[in-house]
Symmetry: C2
Subunit: 428 residues, 2 copies
């Protein structure tokens, strides 16, 4: 780990170079802390003088980005925002400046100042894991993910949105919320930014979110609309986070557990849960950097609408008439089986299962895709990064689909195997 870390640090110097001094030490601290997470004990409420049955996830009835308003309803609600009075293309040095608004999760606004663009996103979710510190990290990674999907690697500013549940006792609030905030803060620092403000209100459910903003030169971001036939689709995190956290809660609910105990062991579930947590907490920042290295044509991040929903959104954005076809679904080990055992109630096989802080779905030139998948696993980026080729871009009517019998790639938990480099299908 020490060696991995030194390499990680060296490579990270590039991105932190233009940051104020002291940043290096900070990367050291945060990246070490991050590496340590893989041997992290699961959260024990009693060690914080809380009731042993305290569960963060009980302070909401909807999990993670599963709280999103259904896509069709949302489209209808936001219709009126589509016709937009300031959408005339702005010019800079004779070139039309790109603009991105409603539809994708990140907006790109041409600024009045010398060719700069405002790239900005906001997101907020409900608790999906019971470890408050990790939940804070996940919430922050989830917000930043939309910037990373634009190939933006530097966040200029982070605002934090917090809803403190009115159902928390004062003691619970004072023990738990600082842990959440610390996790959010540590993830911000790992991203090379810091929290400068936000809004904190009382709400029935715990709310965790933020606003990530960057002001970019044209070469610092990649518009998600340049996919062409022949491109290949790459995904940078396994699917099934929602399934893993759900079945993990079923460990406490016999009638639900009985439905799946034949296809999965308690240890499998614990491992999948830990793995899901680590994946959700992992920043998509490395992938964002590699989008530039390997000339990505478009990307989005996978969250509440599931891989198919976000693939469809991305397809709709393309300038060339293309469609996305998904052949492979990388899924957390055993979660596909669990999902089938529940009559696919999660929609995992259909690509509609919500993910929280999911991976990036990237359109890459065919010849670059395999190299992208190999490079991202390099220890110099720290442990745990993976990527899979999951589909293709073909001529079409800006739609996305999953083939009838997609190949399920069982993604083995890395928490178990310390060897990060042997992941099935990683270069399939």
């Amino acid at each position: 780990i020490a060696i991995i870390h030194v390499l990680y640090l060296l490579c990270s110097m590039k991105t932190v170079a233009r940051r104020p001094s002291g940043t290096l030490g900070l990367w050291l601290k945060t990246s070490l802390r991050f590496l340590n997470m893989s041997v992290r004990e699961s959260f024990n409420p009693e060690s914080y003088e809380l009731d042993k049955n305290f569960r963060l996830t009980r302070f909401t009835e909807l999990k993670g980005t599963g709280c999103k308003v259904p896509q069709d309803v949302l489209q209808k609600l936001l219709e009126s925002l589509q016709e937009n009075h300031y959408q005339e293309d702005e010019q800079f040095l004779g070139a039309v400046m790109p603009r991105l608004g409603i539809g994708m999760d990140t907006c790109v606004i041409p600024l009045r100042h010398g060719g700069l663009s405002l790239v900005q996103t906001t997101d907020y979710i409900y608790p999906i894991v019971d470890d408050p510190y990790m939940m804070g990290r996940i919430a922050c990674a989830n917000v930043l993910s939309d910037l990373y999907a634009m190939g933006v690697t530097e966040c200029d500013n982070m605002l934090m949105l917090l809803g403190v549940s009115n159902k928390l006792t004062e003691k619970e609030r004072d023990k738990v919320m600082p842990l959440v905030i610390q996790g959010f803060k540590d993830a911000s620092e790992e991203a090379g930014t810091s929290i400068t403000g936000g809004q904190t209100v009382i709400n029935p459910w715990i709310v965790l979110g933020g606003v990530a903003t960057t002001v970019c030169q044209p070469n610092e971001f990649i518009m998600p609309d340049n996919a062409v036939p022949g491109d290949v689709l790459v995904l940078t995190k396994p699917l099934g986070t929602q399934v893993a956290v759900a079945v993990h809660q079923w460990l406490d609910i016999p009638e639900k557990w009985n439905k799946i105990k034949l296809v999965v062991s308690q240890e499998d579930v614990e491992l999948a849960y830990q793995e899901a947590m680590l994946n959700m907490a992992r920043l998509n920042r490395t992938a964002a950097g590699l989008m530039h290295t390997f000339n990505a044509h478009a990307a989005t991040d996978i969250t509440g609408f599931g891989i198919l929903g976000h693939a469809q959104n991305l397809a709709r954005q393309q300038r060339t008439e293309v469609s996305f076809v998904i052949h492979n679904l990388p899924v957390l080990a055993k979660m596909a089986a669990v999902s089938k055992a529940c009559g696919n109630m999660f929609g995992l096989m259909h690509g509609t299962c919500p993910e929280t802080s999911g991976g990036l779905l990237i359109c890459l030139p065919r010849e670059q895709a395999a190299r992208f998948c190999a490079e991202i696993k390099s220890p110099k980026y720290g442990e745990g990064h993976q990527a899979w080729i999951i589909g293709i871009v073909e001529k079409g009517n800006r739609a996305a689909r999953i083939i009838d019998k997609p190949r399920i790639i069982e993604v083995a938990p890395q928490v178990a195997t310390q060897n990060v480099n042997t992941t099935p299908g990683a270069t399939s």
Copy 2:
């Protein structure tokens, strides 16, 4: 109204000049629409095929910015964010660039690009009035208000944060939320900006908010830390919005109504409610522009912590050792009496009563203050703008207080009197 409007239009051309074409027509539309609001009928659910007892404000247990976590609790929760790793002052052309973070509602972040600063704020609240369209306007004005308090008159981008209550029927949701969104959108357009994204989730309570962002040159914003002894405090909206909306609901609750019916008539309450609604929906943009004209030294906007809470926050920010002393409290007509009749349960007389989308509290050089108050009432800025001198800045330890028996300025409802220019105390 026609004449007022033409003048308004002419003066607004300055600020919209650098906007894309078509903006003028838009100002025409929105400012006319805004003027029309003063003769707006109160919201009738049945005209939208909703039950006549439908009340937007029932979809939360906390009103407006009354949902804020108590100031002391918040301070404790956010402690860990105070020590900040990227706060080294950045220099541009040898000059230290200003930075503002946790503590004030708006953050100012020096950017990597030629002396520009990112000025940004986020806010979200719960329904405080029952008219969905007006509620949308209020939510938007409330978000923008933090920018205006920095003397920023142009918003480069607006993101909308929506929580759709899971207690709304589908029909209610589809009737009501579009009205809310339309109100939010119209207010954004009146502000010369547009909504390019955001986040919409399901939540027990209806959530309304957004993120307002501008990238500024140094002369486009006013840091809120330059108050000096001898300055004068000016307030640009009357207090008592929370009281007005609360007692308006008491009209339906006999036991509560009986407590106050001796000091206030039903008509007084209806007028105060309408007036509160118009004030909350009014942008502080004109005041922000005049902050430059009259050389304001510092400002903040009045929301959830009440006038005293926000005055204290502002005092704490000052570079010179000053204190704020408040002598006058401009209050919506009759609401002071109501507040007293309730044993001051609202904290209005103590300055702790939450306001939603309140006015700007501005530190002005003494000789400029009266001119500011006179100028803002000029019809060329549209109807309804007011301002009062409410206190002074003296040498002190960065605290704020209200004198023992502050003078209550009864602010007559303008909905009743069409004559905008005779408001008691306006130049006191």
